[in-house]
Point group: C2
Chain length 302, copies 2
């Protein structure tokens, strides 16, 4: 009865009395028993590459909010950007009681017959929820080109993932084969990778991520280059620290929480027996701050 299937079998008064008694006694149903009996855990797992990156913290929050509203619990699996670790994590995960999987830039583990949604991946197998990265790079490029930039460089991700391939393809489509640096997601690595790029005669740089953009700030500082005077830079994601950079970073804002929530909703509908959309793409929006300005010739003073 406490499972909510009373359906007119007993009077409302009785029902209320029982519930009150249950509450009084602090009764709580045993999840394990329920899961065993029903075969459903009401829990989903979210796999992210690196929970230390605030972006993923936000998608987790979004997924969690949505999940909680649906009476689900989300367990997080953090790959920690560590491929070796990944196998073990996923094994632990599959042993776990998840009804379904939310895979951020991850493949379905072998042997998993579970329901799963992919985030920021290419469509094809599983249903996908992703950001409109093409729209994002278009907005960034349009902004820069509108400002008069003609020599634009690209700081791309050294780790390969569909979302970065998409960005690369788009900038290639728009710009031909621009000077490109490949960097890992750490300020220092990005600075090291972006340095040589800044020494070519680019007047602006688009980055696949705000962390990469932070690396460009570091590299520019080392070389005495002014932002946006000598070089304009635009990031991607709009992480919090973008606003405290000097100057504040122009960046493509992505709604990470919405991404997490949309992924959960898709999974929930799959779990409910419906067919979630094969691909759902969420809008992004350029936020113009102060790291972009019209180009000027190198060395030219105001």
């Amino acid at each position: 009865m406490l499972s909510g299937k009373a359906a007119g079998r007993i009077s409302a008064r009785t029902e209320e009395a029982v519930k009150a008694a249950a509450r009084e006694l602090g009764y709580r149903p045993n999840v394990a028993a329920r899961a065993l009996r029903t075969g459903v855990a009401r829990s989903v797992a979210l796999v992210v590459p690196d929970i230390t990156n605030p972006f993923f913290g936000r998608v987790l929050r979004g997924a969690q909010r949505a999940a909680q509203q649906a009476g689900y619990t989300v367990v997080l699996v953090d790959i920690g950007n560590d491929r070796a670790w990944e196998a073990q994590s996923l094994r632990a995960l599959l042993a776990g009681p998840a009804d379904g999987l939310l895979l951020f830039e991850a493949e379905l583990p072998p042997g998993a017959t579970e329901h799963a949604i992919q985030i920021e991946m290419h469509p094809g197998g599983l249903p996908v929820v992703r950001l409109d990265v093409e729209g994002g790079v278009d907005a960034a490029l349009d902004h820069l080109i509108g400002l008069g930039h003609e020599r634009i460089g690209h700081v791309s991700s050294a780790i390969s993932a569909p979302t970065f391939e998409r960005r690369r393809e788009r900038v290639t489509a728009r710009l031909g084969a621009p000077p490109t640096a490949y960097a890992e997601f750490t300020f220092e690595r990005a600075a090291a990778a972006a340095g040589p790029l800044l020494e070519q005669d680019v007047t602006a740089v688009v980055c696949d991520d705000d962390i990469l953009a932070g690396g460009v700030y570091l590299a520019a500082r080392e070389r005495g280059l002014a932002i946006p005077g000598d070089i304009s830079v635009v990031g991607f994601d709009d992480l919090d620290f973008a606003r405290v950079l000097a100057p504040p970073l122009t960046t493509v804002a992505a709604d990470a929480e919405a991404l997490g929530a949309a992924a959960f909703e898709a999974l929930a509908s799959d779990l409910a027996g419906d067919r979630p959309p094969a691909e759902q793409v969420l809008p992004v929006a350029l936020t113009v701050r102060e790291s972009t300005a019209p180009p000027r010739a190198r060395g030219q003073t105001l």
Copy 2:
């Protein structure tokens, strides 16, 4: 037998054969059934105030690493800095199959008879794992005083938590009643709160957190104050973005992963029937970068 209790009951050969067969068939024990039978879920819950803050991402990672090694799974509960949300989150959590709780700046929910460890709280009831914040503020203050600062302000947390009380007590013990600003953990809020502080004649500011320090950078920039020329600032935590600030932030580095791992270990020993230490305090270390320098009179040029 697959539970590992073979204990000499069968031959090693047989054991191996069975395991091989199990692997071949893709057999995996049903967690729910095991949990039901044994009363143990091999899963712990970690409650954090705000998973969007990279600091908590790191403690989660630390806890998760330690947990995974012990064959545990950790489920995250993100309060989202939202008191109203907290009640609901915790209710969902208690319904969940956690064997124990890791409570970061959270109280044991009423009715929970579970095993629990508190992180960054005062000792007393539950076992506590915390950072040596007193040592941290001492290091920060010694550094500033050694540089010659005499008028030092304090940017403290507007949300009250034991760790911030400790810091406040320590700076009060060392400095008397210094000019103090209370700010929430957002760059903009912190900037607004710290602004008036900068207009008093302080030559340096210690912040309870790097995000607060970021707010001070913003406030200083608005007012045309140079860091560290006009004002020195030191943060707390050593979040990644501290290195990309201009100038790089001097801050007290806290090992968030170690904090998470230590908390899990304490919980594990509690779960195993041992008595975890009532209080465990982890060291912190000042990282001197470029946001601190000797004071100079306001307006004085180099």
